[in-house]
Symmetry: C2
Subunit: 316 residues, 2 copies
């Protein structure tokens, strides 16, 4: 197969675009797709500072790399979740730090166990009603938001790609969870002064493209999936969507993008619950729908010893 | 496994209902589910005459059988599509006729080739832009509607089960075809005096349950799928949904039923195209959105010789 741009040997064929490219042109094409998403969805403008949530995996490091190539003012945030199984968190942080050091860019690190007293798996174990992944999501959202607001970033960028978005959309569609369907978007505007805007610049890229991008750019990332994701429903949905994609190139992307279009055109969702009034958490000040403590702060109630004093937010 | 009702050996386990039943109780349970669907969705009332569209397969013959057991005034319509491959149409008609003869109930038969001059595959071949399945659907809808209206039936009942409905819903959802999503329903009211109401009394039953019902009731049906359905996208979607069901019992049914609920509650679809004004076809009189001839009548334009005279509708 030949590169469509220059005729050299292609390294990747993106059937959904009928587009084969050589390494050089592929490494140009990916940032172009990201740029297009940023502009089309109005994610941020060139002089805004963006905080990239960096797990250490191919998507988030790839995203950061692309944003830097595009000349964006992008700094990183790594949240160490305290997952010791397979040294997952240790290796993840190391990959993120190495990336930042090589490029001489700022990486902020928040170690959940150090800062709040317990890592994610321990918190989830203590709070029996909560799943590990649910707890993890809650903690990450809180920390990302806090760091972004405290340090004055215009937006938080996460590495969600088409596969991620389509899988979540699929899950919400299977249950016709219209509330979630209403909120899933490439850009979530800041609806409160203590809520940062959230953007997903990779919504035009497939997971395999991001893997190829990381490989071809020489990005060293953590290959292992989180040990807690084994057997996760989202992974099952991703497989299903890949079966679909296999049969009909572009199905995955079309599913997601035509959803956005239908919703934007007002053809989808009816009128539902009007916007909920947000309170501020009496402890951390972040917006919450609860009357006193937010869900994050409630995680630490009757928590591990020594948590009484609320540590100041010593960001790296 | 034991029957939940009587403790005898169960013949079927319906995991989505956590319900195992023996043959006798299963043969009671299926009509109960149909009755429930008829009532819940207001399909028809006991003294209304219903025309059952009978292909000769397990679902349509099973449906007819159930309706007769429930004491409904149900008569049959078989449309011979003229599919000679594997003697598909011949065997189908034979199974339908045998069923009717054994129960001494009225079966109307319309032979498409005899009545209009060509069978479905020949028409599709002649009309190059049209797929065989699309042509078949168009012809069946026209004939069913015509027979039901001419003979004064209150409703046309078809054997669509949960698997069928979920697969179509899945297809429409993948493309976010909101127009189709708005119209897919267990009951399609008659919106014109020449349009019959359409009902799907099997929307609470899985395909495997209907297969079990046919088997246990001793219904002799055609096992072969239509030769043109090989590799059909709908079958692929059914497989996907069965993978889902395998992982999570009830997923298929929940997908479909929660869709109906969300739409009914006004949480789904926004405002879209208002109802289109229907014209009457200048040839057959059936409602159409086209200005002169309906899509069915256009099938026969410049059609096979001898079609000039529009035959009277000699129903068996």
């Amino acid at each position: 197969m030949k590169c469509r741009k220059c005729g050299a040997t292609a390294v990747i064929n993106m059937r959904q675009h009928r587009l084969a490219l050589c390494a050089d042109h592929f490494l140009e094409w990916v940032p172009g797709q990201v740029q297009r998403a940023i502009e089309k969805f109005g994610m941020f403008v060139p002089d805004e500072r963006v905080l990239v949530a960096v797990s250490g995996g191919k998507d988030s490091l790839g995203l950061w790399d692309v944003l830097l190539r595009l000349g964006c003012h992008a700094e990183g945030l790594h949240i160490n979740l305290g997952i010791s199984q397979g040294e997952y968190s240790e290796v993840s942080q190391q990959k993120a730090e190495q990336f930042a050091a090589e490029r001489d860019v700022l990486l902020r690190v928040v170690d959940v166990a150090q800062r709040y007293g317990q890592g994610v798996p321990d918190v989830a174990r203590r709070k029996r009603g909560r799943s590990t992944c649910g707890t993890c999501g809650l903690i990450k959202r809180h920390v990302m938001n806090e760091v972004a607001c405290d340090a004055g970033y215009a937006a938080i960028a996460t590495g969600h790609n088409v596969d991620d978005e389509a899988a979540v959309l699929f899950q919400n569609t299977l249950h016709w969870a219209t509330g979630y369907l209403a909120r899933q978007a490439p850009v979530l505007p800041a609806s409160h002064r203590r809520l940062a805007r959230k953007v997903k610049p990779l919504v035009r890229l497939y997971e395999r493209e991001m893997a190829a991008y990381a490989l071809l750019s020489g990005i060293d990332y953590i290959y292992e999936e989180c040990p807690y994701s084994k057997g996760a429903t989202t992974l099952f949905y991703k497989d299903l969507l890949n079966d679909l994609e296999e049969r009909s190139s572009g199905a995955k992307q079309q599913f997601y993008l035509s959803f956005l279009r239908a919703r934007e055109e007002g053809r989808l969702l009816g009128q539902e619950e009007t916007r909920v009034e947000l309170e501020e958490c009496t402890r951390c000040g972040q917006p919450t729908t609860a009357p006193a403590l937010c869900a994050f702060c409630r995680l630490w109630e009757e928590g591990p010893a020594g948590h009484g004093e609320w540590s100041s937010h010593d960001l790296a």
